[in-house]
């Protein structure tokens, strides 16, 4: 699949860019029009965000930009300049999982797991702005994240459980 709209800028037009990703400053020399996803995966080796459709439709590449969910495959790296990027890696570690990640494991919400990055990041954005979402709010927030394995019910349960964890573990 080609990246027509985003690869429009000249490839030679490379300049050093400083990005704030997961609270750290990273430097990279790429064209400003390079998709943010490519920089995160190829240059920073942050492989939490996945390459799915490349057209902003499936949501597997979701990261948070200044707290808002963003399809990183259709946003050029220039859009992230001066903003805070949060990827799945910025949530928790293997030793100390983020409550949302723990909730997804506890609910066994993954089949193949390819969509989970988008599900978790979108859930994070949802819970940040609405700590006690009801079923319909969760369905609405995750409506445009596509999952082909069919663990939708487990995913909804995981978000509810995550809300519960976040509420009962105020330290997080």
């Amino acid at each position: 699949m080609s990246m027509h709209a985003i690869s429009a800028g000249s490839a030679l037009d490379v300049e050093p860019l400083a990005l704030n990703v997961n609270g750290r400053t990273w430097s990279v020399e790429v064209a400003r029009s390079t998709p943010l996803l490519y920089v995160l995966r190829n240059d920073f080796e942050l492989n939490g965000p996945k390459y799915g459709c490349g057209l902003g439709q499936c949501g597997a590449c979701t990261v948070l930009l200044d707290g808002g969910p963003t399809r990183s495959c259709v946003v050029p790296v220039a859009a992230a300049l001066g903003r805070e990027v949060l990827t799945l890696e910025g949530l928790g570690t293997l030793d100390a999982l983020h409550p949302i990640q723990r909730a997804f494991i506890d609910e066994q919400a993954a089949q193949c797991g390819y969509c989970l990055n988008g599900m978790i990041m979108s859930a994070k954005a949802l819970l940040d702005r609405n700590p006690e979402p009801d079923d319909s709010a969760i369905r609405q927030a995750l409506r445009f994240n596509l999952c082909r394995c069919g663990t939708h019910l487990e995913i909804v349960n995981a978000v509810k459980r995550a809300a519960h964890y976040l509420k009962t573990e105020p330290g997080r």
Binding site: A5, Q57, A125
Partner: protein, 920 residues
């Protein structure tokens, strides 16, 4: 104190309307002996005479009658005093040769009418006081003392009037409250008159020049009218270098203001410069040090450029009694006590007309600026409008209002003002003042005002006025004119009509002369001017003009250097390549003189005499003001020169016969700078100037005829096209589902997004990118003007977004599926999941309800990869994901669902194919 601030922090209070208000004119230092006389005058004018301790006031139902009464009372009291008269000091003093000397007088208590509005109203709960003194920390205490009421009873609001921050403003506020309590009605204080003049100061200057016109000696003496025997107390420094200079100031009480010294010095410099046939501005520059006084020189240079000092644009008046004049004055201040302080400079250029018969002095324009620092000023501060109005009103003894010229940004940076007598405005309009929070306004000197007016009077009449004020009575007496009718206002109106008529005739003569010469002469090349030719302020102003005009948008090729040209512009007549605007002498405009540049911008004729194609919107740029054109030239000439020859434009025969453009110009080019409409507000005129001039909005948003000329009149801004996009209508016939309001236009122009209309894309994106960097007040003015073109329909309900018709959506399942998969994540009716950037609702989006589908197809196929501002976000293009049939299905569905009131689009697949192949 605190709750007063709170009360005044509310910005939405409406100024009480004039209805039901009493008007008052306050007289200061009233003496009991005048009571009988004053009551008599009051009865004559049908107004009340109210005493308030030391002062008193005339109070009545109309503003004019109380002012007339006050003026009459004060005049008759003054005439009773013996020994008054200034014929001596205003009589021309002949001087000859290099030795010269002159005496000036300065009235120590200004006897003129000071317009200083203050309003007082009791709303039952609080006493509301609107005045220019609300920032005065003593005012609440003074009000409480004067009335015996607690401080908390008062609510203070700031009124932006002529007398901001002055003692006069505080007196006016106190008087308004006192009169309100005496009369039991709301009060509007119109102004303040001082009854007694307190003598005057005598100022004498002498100088000698060498044969080259440079100052050798400079002697200055100033004294209050009755000199004391004390030793001279102060030294007043002249900013101009002289080999030998002395000054003697006999002023123990320190009662001579700075303005008086400036008046004498600047009048005298004007006298000797003119006496020696040296330009008065050049004379001053010759006597200011190039290093030490670099800041002062830059200020003077900038203002002279701004006012077009050297360009004699004065038109011959058919009406011989009306004499135009122009005067300059400058003042420098530096605290001698502390050598480290930054010097401050101010300068004024005044244009006025003198009516020789009536003695009326009508100031037309003031260009005034203020700056700090020895060198490298960067930007010049303007002088606030109220200062200019207050100084003009005091010096001429009648109320004037000042508003920024149409080519100025309002606010602290404006330097050029249009001045008009306050009576010319309807009273209601004069009341529409800005209510603001009390703020501290730095005191900006208007000390050069008196000399600038006096010098302009000399320029107009050849008579030197050596003592202010320059009231009609005194001007008439000195000029020996006939007695004027009392009411001078209708005179002034007739006069301005006549001027406008004369200008119109002249304009059409120029237009005739143009069509008489089809072949244009080249203008001789010049060496590229050095960038130090212009002040930084002028270059900075030029940068803004260039941004308004979006020069770089057309004159920069993709990946090319800014303004080096070479962008291919697709026109219905063929491809036109933009030219190199950098100051490279070979391939750019480096050897273009200002005259050549000005001709190209206003007439579309290149320096070598060949006609430029009207793809270059000189039909709009011809409206630029002289000052903006100069600044633009200065800016372009001070940019780096880039040698780059853009491709030649080759149109097919007969369009390659450029001389034909002369005929096109004769038909469609309306030359002449923008003429403000005096019946509209300053903001409206500023907006119209930007939209029709530099902004050249109509180049895209007006339809064009078969010859590529914009259709005007009723088709003005009714929608056109640009680079394959539809440029929507900006007026009432707009297809937009929700009416464009001023606020929506402002948001759109400033940020590229309006919640009710959508996002700026395509050729509009770089326009917004430019506007987002320009002064907010200017963008607001453009929105104000454009909004004014669509009349508000009274009682019209806000548009209801119609619901999609289920029947119409039948058979569009393909389109619906594509929409749900590709678009709904951002554009669903619920606003999607809140992705980064703005997500316009398609039901309100102009491109969905337009008559033709190009704009929607452009965005679907090519996305938005270069948003106008960083906040807007990006949209991917789908040209590689969907074929033309799928795009057509999608667009049909979007149209049927989100613009159910509009007819379906035809031939969508075909148009999609066309748009797909277009450069975007």
């Amino acid at each position: 104190m605190n709750d007063i601030r709170e009360a005044s922090a509310c910005g939405t209070v409406t100024v009480p309307s004039e209805e039901g208000m009493l008007h008052a004119c306050v007289l200061g230092e009233f003496e009991p002996g005048w009571q009988g006389h004053a009551s008599h005058v009051a009865a004559e004018h049908g107004v009340l005479w109210i005493e308030l301790g030391k002062s008193a006031a005339f109070v009545g139902e109309s503003g004019t009658s109380v002012r007339d009464a006050a003026l009459q009372a004060v005049r008759s009291v003054r005439n009773d005093e013996p020994g008054r008269g200034d014929a001596e000091s205003t009589a021309p003093v002949p001087h000859a040769g290099l030795q010269c000397q002159a005496h000036y007088a300065w009235p120590l208590i200004d006897g003129a009418f000071v317009p200083c509005t203050a309003l007082a109203r009791d709303n039952g709960e609080r006493i509301e006081v609107f005045s220019a003194a609300s920032g005065d920390p003593h005012l609440p205490g003074a009000l409480a003392d004067a009335t015996g009421l607690p401080v908390t009873r008062f609510a203070l609001y700031s009124l932006d009037t002529a007398a901001h921050g002055d003692q006069d403003a505080t007196s006016a506020a106190l008087a308004a409250v006192a009169l309100m309590r005496k009369t039991g009605r709301s009060i509007r204080v119109e102004g303040f008159l001082s009854v007694r003049a307190g003598g005057s100061a005598t100022l004498s200057v002498g100088a000698s020049l060498d044969a080259g016109g440079r100052l050798l000696d400079w002697h200055y003496k100033a004294a209050v009218a009755e000199p004391s025997r004390a030793t001279p107390s102060r030294h007043v420094q002249s900013p101009y270098a002289a080999r030998h200079s002395t000054s003697l100031i006999d002023d123990e009480q320190d009662s001579i203001p700075r303005a008086a010294h400036a008046f004498a010095r600047e009048s005298f410099v004007d006298e000797i410069a003119r006496g020696n046939r040296i330009d008065p501005v050049d004379f001053r520059l010759d006597h200011l040090d190039t290093v030490e006084d670099a800041g002062a020189r830059e200020l003077i240079d900038s203002l002279a450029q701004r006012a077009g000092w050297n360009r004699d644009v004065r038109k011959k008046e058919g009406h011989s009694a009306l004499a135009p004049g122009r005067g300059f004055a400058f003042d420098a201040r530096e605290d001698a006590l502390d050598g480290n302080r930054t010097p401050e400079y101010s300068a004024w250029i005044v244009d006025l007309d003198v009516d020789r018969l009536t003695g009326d002095v009508n100031i037309r324009r003031v260009v005034a600026g203020h700056a700090q620092g020895r060198r490298g000023l960067g930007a010049i501060m303007g002088v606030p409008a109220r200062r200019i109005a207050a100084a003009s009103s005091r010096l001429l003894g009648m109320p004037f209002a000042a508003e920024p010229s149409h080519d100025e940004t309002a606010g602290s940076r404006a330097v050029s003002y249009r001045i008009h007598p306050v009576q010319a405005l309807a009273n209601a309009e004069a009341l529409q003042v800005q209510v603001t929070e009390p703020v501290h306004v730095p005191h900006i000197d208007s000390s050069p005002a008196a000399a600038a007016i006096a010098n302009a009077l000399y320029d107009a009449t050849g008579v030197r006025f050596r003592a202010p004020p320059f009231t009609p009575e005194r001007v008439r007496a000195v000029l020996g004119g006939a007695k004027a009718p009392r009411d001078a206002v209708p005179q002034r109106r007739r006069r301005s009509l006549r001027t406008a008529f004369a200008a119109g005739v002249l304009g059409s003569l120029i237009a005739l002369a143009c069509t008489a010469w089809p072949v244009r002469a080249p203008i001789a090349p010049i060496d590229r001017p050095t960038s130090s030719t212009w002040s930084e302020a002028t270059v900075a102003r030029g940068r803004e003009v260039a941004a308004f005009g979006d020069c770089a948008v057309c004159h920069t090729a993709p990946d090319g250097a800014t303004n080096a040209g070479g962008l291919a512009l697709e026109t219905p007549f063929g491809t036109v390549y933009s030219t190199n605007l950098t100051p490279d002498p070979k391939t750019g405009i480096g050897n273009w003189s200002f005259a050549a540049f000005d001709r190209a911008m206003r007439q579309g004729i290149s320096r070598d005499g060949h006609h430029l194609y009207p793809a270059f919107p000189y039909t709009a740029f011809t409206k630029l003001s002289e000052a903006d054109m100069t600044a633009l030239y200065a800016y372009l000439m001070s940019q780096p020169a880039i040698e780059s020859a853009p491709p030649q434009t080759r149109l097919p025969f007969p369009l390659n016969q450029r001389a034909l453009v002369a005929g096109w110009n004769a038909l469609y080019l309306k030359q002449g700078a923008f003429v403000p409409n005096p019946s509209r507000s300053a903001q409206w005129n500023r907006g119209a100037y930007l939209v029709d001039g530099a902004g050249h909005c109509s180049a895209c948003h007006s339809p064009r005829n078969a010859l590529g000329a914009e259709k005007g009149a009723s088709r003005y801004l009714t929608g056109g096209s640009a680079e394959g996009w539809v440029a929507p209508s900006l007026v009432a016939n707009s297809k937009s589902p929700v009416r464009w309001t001023e606020d929506a236009l402002f948001d759109y122009l400033r940020t590229g997004f309006s919640r009710e209309h959508g996002v700026a894309a395509g050729p509009m994106a770089p326009v917004v990118a430019g506007l987002s960097t320009l002064p907010e007040a200017d963008v607001r003015a453009m929105a104000h003007y454009v909004a004014s073109l669509s009349p508000v329909i009274a009682g019209a309900a806000p548009a209801v977004v119609p619901k999609a018709d289920a029947i119409r959506l039948q058979g569009l399942d393909n389109g619906r599926r594509i929409f749900e998969g590709a678009c709904a994540v951002c554009h669903s009716e619920t606003g999607g999941v809140g992705n980064f950037g703005v997500r316009p609702l398609l039901a309100l989006n102009t491109s969905v309800s337009e008559a033709s589908p190009e704009n929607l197809l452009h965005v679907i196929l090519h996305g938005i990869d270069a948003p106008a501002t960083g906040e807007l976000g990006y949209m991917p293009g789908f040209s590689d994901a969907f074929d033309d049939r799928q795009v057509a299905d999608l667009a049909s569905y979007i149209r049927a669902r989100f613009a159910p009131g509009e007819a379906s689009w035809g031939d969508l697949a075909q148009v999609s194919g066309k748009v797909r192949n277009q450069a975007h």
